[in-house]
Amino acid sequence: MGGKMPGHDPIANGRPGLVLHSGRNGVVKSQAGAKDFVPLYQDFENFYTRNVYMRLRDNWNRPICSVPGACFDVMERVSDDYNWNFRFTGNILQGVINMGSYNYLGFAENKGPCMEAAAEVMQTYGVGVCSTRQEIGNLDKHEELEELTAKFLGVEAAMAFGMGFATNSMNIPALVKKGCLILSDELNHVSLVLGARLSGATIRIFKHNNMKSLEQLLREAIVHGQPRTHRPWKKILIIVEGIYSMEGSIVRLPEVVVLKRKYKAYLYLDEAHSIGAVGPTGRGVVDYFGMDPRDVDIMMGTFTKSFGAAGGYIGGSKALVDFLRANSHSAAYATSMSPPVAQQIISSMKCIMGDDGTTIGQDRITQLLRNTRYFRQRLRNLGFVIYGNDDSPVVPLLIYLPAKTGAFGREMLKRRIGVVVVGFPATTIIESRARFCVSAAHTREMLDTVHILLLLADLEFIFHKRCCHRAPPVCLLSRLLQPNCWAYPAEIWQQHSSPDWEQELQSSFWSRDFK
């Protein structure tokens, strides 16, 4: 089976006539004969799908068939019908430079001590657990992991969960209820938004990383209380992220903590992208600002990114974690974390902490910082508009026009670079961008290659055909960024008309071999 269903199909979209819809197995027709059913989803809901997403679709869900390390192998696929369906050609694009995965510390590895330890644990424990933490799925590995996580974070206790997304969506409801107020950054991740919604608390949004906006909301909330009844709020919870995954910006934690203290609010910090990735010892934004972890009430993070595993954690006071152990949906209803995954986290965390007796972890943290600063500096020198903090390994490069993102992603893959392009709804419609994630595993040569290809690439759709290779980079770029040409001061022109850039590019460009 798996092909088209013949004959009567009464339950598909209840719209008479043919509605074409994409599917991996072929174009699926929702057939007439289901008139009595209300359409499963509205056509206007599909407007975006049909008109934007379909045209750019080949830039997402690109299947890979190797470890997502510094380079990976991408399975080549083509579409004969303008991205409605894809077929695999059987070719493998090997050695594509991976600028898309969140492999900040390079722990996505298929050899080495972490992998061996995970393999061993799998032999003993199996891959699954088949029970929840509260029932009979509380393995000693989980306890070990939680103890280590607490030590790593510098908090009293911690709890680990099987999925990062669910850590947010299933635990926020345990902490706040109706009558509480959540102040959420406008760019918070969907999982935080979902958790906040499920909690039943009132949600108010403050402008991204804008302390004035946050303070104003805090004051107003305390002074005026709940709407209509004017009763005081039970609790106020501020939810922020460490590094915002689409902006690359680092939260202004010291100021948030000052506000939180002043107004007696609680702080929920989601370190999905920052744990391991920033801070002199890789302990996330708290470490980055040299602050005390106890200033943050709820330290949440994921193991997916820097640790090369899966899952999430919440750290904080013992009272908090005890409360969660009793009240978290994850603990009562979800199968606990897979033991080999837990072991991978333990091994990589020990490595970062230096508990394995090596400096590999510390070296990687340093290397990541070095790579990040180098990569960002180069991009900025080349005249690109990039967002975010200088030390943030998430580097969004602004392309602005949604249509150009598609061309950009394709052209970069042609040149063996895997980048992520994002547009609406992850960003505003006029701020489509490409996103690079710098990793400690990237070598200087790889980063240089990315820079060079960004320049030399005769990305004619993006940069315009008439721009030849010899044009100064800003010429290419100003075309790339046409809608915002005003953003380019004249100094950039002068800065980049230096004669040696071309030579520099060519010397390293032609000798490209990483595999």
Partner: protein, 741 residues
């Protein structure tokens, strides 16, 4: 030195005579020389003109005009290469010469301008036998007195028969060229380019010879089978190449110039492609009256909204002074983040060392395991471990990204395909976490305003999905389809009252295959009957029935022999029977594919680690290879069901075929805490006797309908008859010890 020209091909013997006659009439092209061909004929360069004119001339020269008889004595050939004549004066020189001789004839004419030579045309455009000289040529009124005599001389010099003069391109939107005809009867010309003939009237239409390359490029596109729209078709500049050479299926040609439209249709017919072109005449700027009215109405609305509406003031707040505000802020004391002393119902987790397979080490005591949902005993399967290990050695542990951003691995695609083919559905989608499958799937379809009918016993992830959907949830009593039908009838009555709303309200029924909270089986056949009577969609959660029910483990649909298509969405975790991590949904592509953009747990979460994916693939293989294990599993389920019957003070909940059974107090006390403590004590004494069982945990305050406390027993196919009976006996003795004392 050579050039191309229209040729008259005649026998070589007559060439000289014909040439003289042509020269007399001015039809010979003096720029070229006559060429002698190998077949005994000669080609004479001529100026093109109407073929009928030739007949008389050729007859005079003694040539046969009837081409059908015998050998062909003469013919016309286009674009023949000719060498240039040796002393060919350039056309401009000829022009100067001709005009000089006319001026000689009219010596007496008044005030000849001193710069008359500069007023002669230097550039002209040739289309067939018509030349268009530029605007500045012969600008002075002096030339007007000569009339046709002058123009004849010019045509002779330029080697054409008709003459026209370029004017200013008129600013009328059509870009009418304003060409005036000086000599000749009409301005219709024909031009062949790339094997396409273009005909137009130079007086009314534009044509630029400079675009030939661009037209050639357009001709090279492969448009086979495509529909092309030419927004500014003109006389068919690009329409024709695309039709003739690019083989477009259909061209929609838009044009508003009536003259161009006339010639466009002529050209289409001439080139034999009119059947593949649809001409769309007219100006799209001409708005119909209703549109103007609509716009006027909108403008009025906007003005009203901007200037005449009251501004939005949700609360007329009293202004507080700064000091008052500070005081309020100082005084406010929030509740603690978490209660200082939480009542800890399940605070102390039991610690399991090693794998929780058939035997499990709980708090350092080895026990028989009747609590893990490891129905098929796959948790300890060496085959699955081996598959996962080879996956681990290839891919590492984590995926470091969501499915969209390089988190899709080949094994994910394989697993989705495998699940789809196993469940005989079109498509499957996998989630990285069991509960997130159903809790993401429900809000992907059910939205605010939709109606969802849900069984009161559905598990918490489903309740969360319902909460996230913000739909209108109607609860029906557990497995009570009569109650469901009653609610559906109520809904139908509402719909009749408000048919407009009913047309957009989607209706869903969400049920579980085997209920986690009760162990009962959903009466699916009756539900499917109801479905077609009341037009709702069925979402079925099969976490406990997938890999359990049915002859080959395909779940509830196989168990009841119901077509999979009758259920709209099947969802399940892979964390029970398959003993790995994650969940999946399967169904029609039309339904499933929607989740790839709308399933939040799918889009925004890191994908399932490849090693767990490979484990699931291997587990599915094992299910396919050994379908007899499901019969065995059902026997064990039945055995456990029978063995635990009749324990005093306890009641058994769940179906005989269910792999989980709920043991509840037959007469619960008023206090939930006390019941839990009693059951805990039973669990504890069972553990001491080497049988690990567990309470079914739930978070009471978050459940919509909290299930009463129970011990949940789970069957593992690897348990022997003796072991099941022993476990039942242990439970029985522990229960009697605690309950009868």
């Amino acid at each position: 030195m050579a050039g191309k020209c229209l040729a008259l091909v005649v026998p070589a013997s007559l060439a000289q005579r014909v040439r003289t006659m042509l020269q007399q009439r001015g039809w010979f092209n003096p720029r070229f020389r006559v060429v002698r061909n190998e077949d005994g004929s000669a080609s004479i360069p001529v100026i093109s003109c109407d073929v009928s004119d030739w007949f008389a001339l050729l007859k005079e020269a003694g040539l046969e005009t009837n081409k059908t008889l015998g050998t062909l004595t003469w013919r016309l050939a286009e674009d023949i290469e000719f060498p240039l004549s040796r002393h060919t004066p350039s056309p401009h020189e000829l022009l100067v010469k001709a005009i000089s001789s006319i001026l000689e004839l009219h010596k007496d004419s008044p005030e000849r301008p001193p710069d008359w030579r500069d007023q002669l045309p230097r550039r002209w455009e040739r289309h067939g036998d018509l030349a268009i000289i530029d605007q500045q040529a012969f600008a002075s009124p002096f030339w007007d007195s000569f009339g046709p005599e002058l123009w004849t001389a010019v045509t002779k010099a330029l080697g054409v028969r008709r003459l026209a003069k370029q004017g200013r391109v008129q600013p009328d939107g059509y870009r009418t060229p304003a060409v005036t005809l000086l000599l000749g009867s009409d301005g219709v010309v024909e031009r062949r380019e790339n094997g396409i003939s273009y005909t137009w009237d130079v007086r009314t239409c534009m044509f630029s010879a400079g675009n030939a390359h661009e037209k050639q490029r357009a001709a090279m596109w492969d448009c086979t089978g495509e529909t092309v729209c030419d927004m500014y078709a003109g006389i068919g500049y690009f329409t024709l190449p695309v039709l003739v050479h690019s083989r477009a299926k259909l061209v929609l040609a838009c044009e508003w110039n009536p003259n161009a439209l006339h010639w466009l249709s002529v050209n289409l017919q001439q080139n034999g492609v009119s059947n593949r072109c649809r001409i769309l005449p007219g100006d799209n700027r001409k708005a119909p009256a209703y549109h103007l009215l609509l716009e006027a109405f909108l403008i009025i609305c906007i003005i009203r909204l901007l200037f005449f509406s009251k501004s939005y003031r949700p609360l007329d707040r009293t202004q507080l002074t700064q000091a008052e505000e500070e005081e309020l802020i100082r005084e406010w004391q929030p509740e603690p983040l978490v209660p200082a002393h939480p009542s800890p119902p399940y605070l102390n987790y039991r610690v399991v060392s090693g794998a929780a397979g058939k035997f499990v080490t709980v708090d350092n005591r080895e026990c028989l395991n009747l609590s893990s949902l490891n129905f098929l005993g796959f948790l300890e399967s060496p085959r699955i471990k081996a598959a996962a290990l080879s996956s681990l050695r290839k891919y590492g542990v984590g995926t470091c990204g969501p499915r969209g951003f390089y988190g899709t691995f080949d094994v994910h695609l394989q697993l989705e395909e495998k699940l789809a083919s196993m469940m005989a559905t079109q498509e499957a989608i996998i989630y990285a976490y069991g509960p997130s499958a159903i809790s993401s799937a429900i809000p992907a379809y059910a939205k605010r305003g939709d109606v969802v009918f849900a069984d009161m016993a559905v598990n918490l992830p489903m309740q969360q999905g319902l909460a996230a959907s913000r739909s209108n949830v109607r609860w029906f009593r557990h497995n009570d389809l009569d109650h469901l039908e009653m609610l559906l009838q109520e809904q139908a009555a509402d719909d009749r009252k408000n048919p407009k709303k009913a047309r957009v309200v989607r209706r869903f029924v969400v049920v579980e295959g085997i209920y986690l909270n009760t162990g009962n089986v959903c009466p699916l056949p009756e539900l499917v009957q109801l479905k077609y009577r009341h037009n709702f969609r069925i979402f079925l959660e099969e976490s406990l029935s997938f890999g359990v029910l049915g002859d080959t483990g395909r779940g509830l649909t196989e168990h009841f022999g119901i077509k999979v298509e009758d259920v709209d969405l099947i969802c399940s975790t892979m964390e029970n029977s398959l003993a790995t991590i994650g969940g999946f949904c399967c169904g029609r592509s039309f339904i499933i594919d929607h989740q790839r953009l709308s399933g939040q747990g799918y889009c925004f979460s890191a994908s399932l680690p490849p090693l767990l994916t490979s484990a699931a693939l291997e587990a599915l293989d094992m299910i396919e290879e050994k379908p007899e294990m499901f019969k065995e599993l059902r026997e064990k389920c039945r055995l456990l069901y029978d063995s635990v019957q009749g324990i005093p003070e306890l009641s058994v909940g769940g179906a005989p075929i269910s792999p989980v059974l709920h043991i509840r107090l037959a007469e619960p006390s008023q206090s939930r805490e006390r019941d839990i403590a009693t059951l805990e004590a039973i669990v504890e004494s069972c553990a001491q006797e080497g049988v690990a069982i567990t309470l079914a945990r739930c978070i009471e305050k978050d459940e919509v309908f909290p299930p009463s406390p129970s011990i949940r027993l789970a069957v593992n196919v690897e348990l022997t008859q003796e072991e099941i009976q022993k476990a039942a006996a242990v439970l029985r003795s522990a229960a009697s010890r605690h309950l009868l004392e």
